[in-house]
Subunit: 397 residues, 2 copies
Amino acid sequence: MSIQLQIEATRGSARAGTLITPHGEVETPVFMPVGTLASVKGVSQDVLEELGVQILLSNTYHLYLRPGIETVRQMGGLHRFMSWDRAMLTDSGGFQVFSLNDLRKVSEEGVAFRSHLDGSPHFLSPEKAMEIQIGLGADIIMAFDECTEYPADAQRARASMELTLRWAERCKKYFEEHKGEVPWGSSQPSALSSQQKQVLRFAQDDNSKGHWKGQTQALFGIVQGGMDAALRRESAGRTIDIGFPGYAIGGLSVGEPRELTRDIVESTLEHLPSDQPRYLMGVGTPEEIAQYAQSGVDMMDCVLPTRAARHGLLFTSEGKVSIKQARYAQDESALDPACDCRVCQRYSRAYLRHLYASNELLAQVLNTVHNLRFYLATMRSVRGWIRAGRGATPPVC
Amino acid sequence: MSIQLQIEATRGSARAGTLITPHGEVETPVFMPVGTLASVKGVSQDVLEELGVQILLSNTYHLYLRPGIETVRQMGGLHRFMSWDRAMLTDSGGFQVFSLNDLRKVSEEGVAFRSHLDGSPHFLSPEKAMEIQIGLGADIIMAFDECTEYPADAQRARASMELTLRWAERCKKYFEEHKGEVPWGSSQPSALSSQQKQVLRFAQDDNSKGHWKGQTQALFGIVQGGMDAALRRESAGRTIDIGFPGYAIGGLSVGEPRELTRDIVESTLEHLPSDQPRYLMGVGTPEEIAQYAQSGVDMMDCVLPTRAARHGLLFTSEGKVSIKQARYAQDESALDPACDCRVCQRYSRAYLRHLYASNELLAQVLNTVHNLRFYLATMRSVRGWIRAGRGATPPVC
């Protein structure tokens, strides 16, 4: 038993449901905030819980470099390490390594790359990516794929897709042999106070009662194929033939025009099983996540809300606000009158503008809290729309 | 009616009580966290409230530059600007201008200086410092003084003290004439939602019921005199002659040996009125704040807990922890087993170490939250010790 998607309502192509994971339930469609280095920059875990985050994404490549997999494994996995007892997903490292450009070299075996931190040489293979992600212990882990560059001609897109499929087979083989090594069942270190054990909610009792018994991580496959709908169909079919409990659409938002992204997503979705989760990686703006959720995507992740926040770019129900602008310097109104987050309930645009213009840490924190709330509220609206059935207007942000 | 100190218990030289201000009560002795630019770096106001902070210090010099006094005044003062409805104190800008060294030039009239941000020329006088602080609207404001450099010979220390006394007279004169201009009574802008008005707690109703009627800011005088006990005694006496509702001891922690600081503090305290608040500026370590509270100081402020936090230097009941050290990389225990803050209740040293080593924003936030809690808990212990009377051991950190 790893993960299960219970679809509870449909509306057109859209589905609303509950993704059941070893670390809790996730209402879908869902947007997953990115906590690259086991932290959503500046936002503590209790605030994430308060925002209603049910699943986080962490980056394997970055965690592999810092703090290193052995440290996380010793600590009992990512959940315990960062004190997050809700669901977690890790990517495979494939995209980050793809992004490193000149620092990497791809072979059949895997990818040789150099750390962006200190230039040290490393090697990631399908097996290594599985070993790492098992050690990290996220509920959902991703196959190690090659994110096809854009643009890519037909020959290159096919070759890349075929490599991803061969790697997917190797990922699955390794995972099936080693998934029992996930560190969830590690005994509680005696160094923690009883109060801490309670808070961390991984008490010895739970473990000995077999809290994790029978539960494992879920490995998702990833569809590639560049911008060719036929290749995408083939990739989907052959990935399904290998067999995974969920499927992602990768290799998009790599520079292609938005209309092309949409075409590929919608055509690919037609070839993915309807009774399993469909995860669109690395997307998108508030409008896009609402749109793709309506098209039938169940899960999405993107650095946009968090990264834009740190640049003072805030999403609101009235449009984008670049908070650094002088026009807000004496604006007493809330950032977004329609938003229920702690930031909009308490602070003025003038204050937020001052914080950002003064390079204050709190600007990063508050901006991120708001943007995350906006994204989560957007998805909550979509879920509500799906469940409402006929009559309601689709939420458009 | 501005401020009033109710002394409720004494023990030796120490006093425990309640400082009643227009924006709420403050248990004394108290440590005031520094929120330089209307923000305690990285820590939002709701977290400060949760930590038990009852009074914050903000820096006039920095706010004068960003966002500027007119902005804050237009927003109804600092409390409304930063959405803090508890007590607030501003310094006069004197110390910051003193710290700018070569960029400043002192005359009888005041201090000409250049902004550390862009080199633009500015001028601060006693009158200007009053005008600014009235515009900012803190509950307690400070006289514009000259922080005597260290070391200073007898002649220099006297000249500096005399200047501070002449400036104190000018401060009080200006303040008495203009204190009614404090922007607390500004009408509620219509741009805020009714929910925001509730949250900000400055509803039109409150204003029209005369919430601020009769209440004003309090201007504290500052004792100077360098490291000469006799000069300090004279400065205290002559500042009391001018007459203020509270007195600060300034010009310490400017490079002098700790033992000398202690001597000056203890001798100066003897010359300050026992029925009015005594504020020791810019001090200190956890041991020092406990020590000076026991000597009879009622209020202290220091950047140490917040600044040290941002450098990964954490105060704990077991001593100082430099969290970046490799020894903590796999340390599952809490930062401080005796601490009740959210950080110690939830996160391991390993995670805190990872955050700091990875230059994550959350490191700044969590480290600061813990250090503030440690300081506040230290003062709470001292207050408890004072109120307990004979028998209890003085808290030594």
